[in-house]
Symmetry: C2
Subunit: 379 residues, 2 copies
């Protein structure tokens, strides 16, 4: 086996198992997703909160009432930023990219953390909560500053999801908005071993600290082939609607004919519907408050259905809308700024990265693959 | 093959080829290292400069005189930091970790880069030079501030290596020091696909920008199992010498008996001597200026030789000193602060990370391996 593998190059590591996991199971054939054995549909249907599902990932089980209260209190008490970090955010160029902002901020958090060198599980867990709690504060603070608005301090009694919307707008969000946003975060919390989680695991395998692991994952997520997709879906939908009005058929036909990638469709693992997309599509309906939002959603749904129909008509392999397609639509309906889409993905997925960090370091072997040399011979 | 691999878990991806490369070849059996076909011994013997070898990695060939002059000029003109970045460095906690500092600084550089969204090869190359040029400035500036010393502005006419020592101490380094330091940087410039380069490639594969790729690699390098080793070698040598005087035999015997890891020995790929260690051992002699330095070096050499001897006597597998063992010794003789050892590794290796970034993105497939699920059944 080993000799065979050394000769062979496994591009993209497709279908290579790099480790075992007890966290998330993706069944790409049946289109199913399970968090620690719980079907994602059940988690959403039973109205679990962000904090409950985060606890599930960090502790392997849902919390009891008392545990949940403690966890929520601890998480929410870690939201505020050091005043010098705020000064740094104010000095940071306002036109800069939010994913770079998150990378830089988390590196700064590492510089400030008095427990940085403490390798105990308890200290690692506290560092994890600091990261999860402060990410929404950092991006919303920066956004308020760049928008010439007063920053909004976190409100302890609000949920993780509700508080993020509150810090963004200065208003306590409506129940439906908070609920859909929270569920969107939960749907993005983990997805086995995509590039960002893989990056988190590789950094973890060197026994680097949890901050470095999360920073690397954010870098991977920032790539247009990974987390950047939901933002690009929205840009595409806006542009197509602007150019073609209510009927996207012509655009889609041209894409299929010219083999041009349609944003938000297809997935390396799912060969059928992406269960997250199915759920988000339903959730989006709860957000309709205006005629324009209704139209927007109808357009997006029609776009998704037309892609499927046209692909079937043309005899091409059917590819399905993925999570990015409908998360883009939902975030737009929630009035998130366009460049918040990918950071919001990060703010949800960080729970998964951290769970994988713990899993990787609990039984570790450093990743050290090979590259097959095909360069110049001895010079 | 694929079905077989899906069932099997390849821990640490040992011996798995994840791609091809035209950059660096490591022959672990013969103990040889080649940069683009050139044996590392020849590169050192022929006194190539940091800039020349960096050019080799970025352009695939050594520069002609005119190309070298232009490259040096461009690189050295990119050394200075924006005044607001300096303000951020001053606001950053002085006790913070330098690897986190580098991650945060490079994220900030991304925020400031007007070409951040430009995906042309030329723009990517300019961004690469900005990163390579500014890393030494950031760490030395921060070090001067935390030491209550005035920062030293970069000096255009000095080489990359010489200028870093100059910004650290405020004095133009002696020829021997600059020369040995430069060669140490060159020896660390690339090493095929260890965890940091792998992290750089994974982030690159999402089409994230070059900054994110380098930041992830720095995170991986910060881990004690990877780049942190040279610093730990020095701590070990200091402690053993403090406890046992000039004879490390007792310490080494105990380590072998108790199966305790000896820092700076053994390598996943090299099954024989690490050619970089051999070269650094020789180079270290050039740095002897005081009786104490002579003693230090003798102690380190004696330590290395005793490990080999004791392992052979005990019938255990022989493991050899790796690059970290003698780079630790060399950096100590150059009076680098102990927490500069790993950042200095990063300042050299960044050239390799960037070369791999270019190679990965030139013919890309996103890395998306699998994790084998062994968690709870359906709940």
């Amino acid at each position: 086996m080993k000799t065979k593998m050394q000769d062979e190059v496994v591009y993209g590591l497709e279908d290579v198992c790099i480790n075992t996991t007890k966290l998330t199971q993706v069944d790409g054939i049946k289109g199913r997703l399970y968090y620690l054995g719980y079907p994602i549909e059940d988690i959403i249907k039973n109205n679990y909160s962000f904090e409950e599902v985060a606890y599930l990932f960090l502790h392997g089980r849902f919390p009891r009432a008392k545990q949940l209260k403690e966890f929520k209190d601890e998480l929410s008490s870690e939201r505020e930023l050091d005043i010098r970090l705020k000064a740094i955010l104010i000095l940071t160029p306002q036109k800069g990219n939010l994913m770079a902002l998150l990378q830089g901020m988390i590196a700064q958090l590492a510089m400030y953390d008095p427990e940085i060198a403490d390798r105990s599980t308890e200290a690692k867990r506290r560092k994890a909560l600091r990261i999860i709690a402060r990410m929404p504060t950092a991006v919303t603070f920066f956004h308020r500053v760049r928008s010439n608005l007063d920053p909004v301090a976190p409100k302890h009694e609000l949920s993780h999801a509700g508080n993020m919307l509150y810090m963004l707008t200065g208003k306590t969000p409506a129940k439906a908005e908070e609920d859909v946003f929270e569920k969107a975060l939960i749907l993005h919390m983990d997805h086995e071993c995509n590039a960002s989680t893989f990056a988190s695991r590789i950094v973890a395998s060197t026994e680097a600290d949890i901050y470095s692991s999360v920073i690397a994952a954010i870098g991977a997520l920032s790539g247009p082939l990974h987390g950047g997709a939901n933002e690009r879906v929205l840009r595409m939908l806006r542009e197509v609607r602007h150019q073609y009005g209510d009927d996207p058929s012509k655009y889609i036909e041209d894409c299929i004919k010219d083999k041009k990638k349609i944003m938000g469709f297809g997935h390396r693992v799912y060969k059928t519907t992406d269960p997250r997309a199915t759920i988000l599509r339903k959730l989006a309906k709860k957000l309709i408050k205006t005629e324009e939002q209704l139209k927007e959603l109808k357009f997006a749904e029609n776009f998704a259905d037309t892609v499927l129909k046209k692909l079937q008509e043309s005899g091409k392999t059917t590819i399905y809308p993925n999570v990015d397609f409908f998360s883009g639509v939902v975030y737009e309906m929630l009035n998130l700024p366009l460049d918040f889409f990918t950071p919001t993905f990060a703010i949800a997925r960080v729970v998964g990265w951290i769970a994988h960090y713990f899993e990787q370091t609990s039984d570790n072997r450093i990743y050290r693959p090979r590259l097959k040399y095909i360069g110049p011979k001895l010079r």
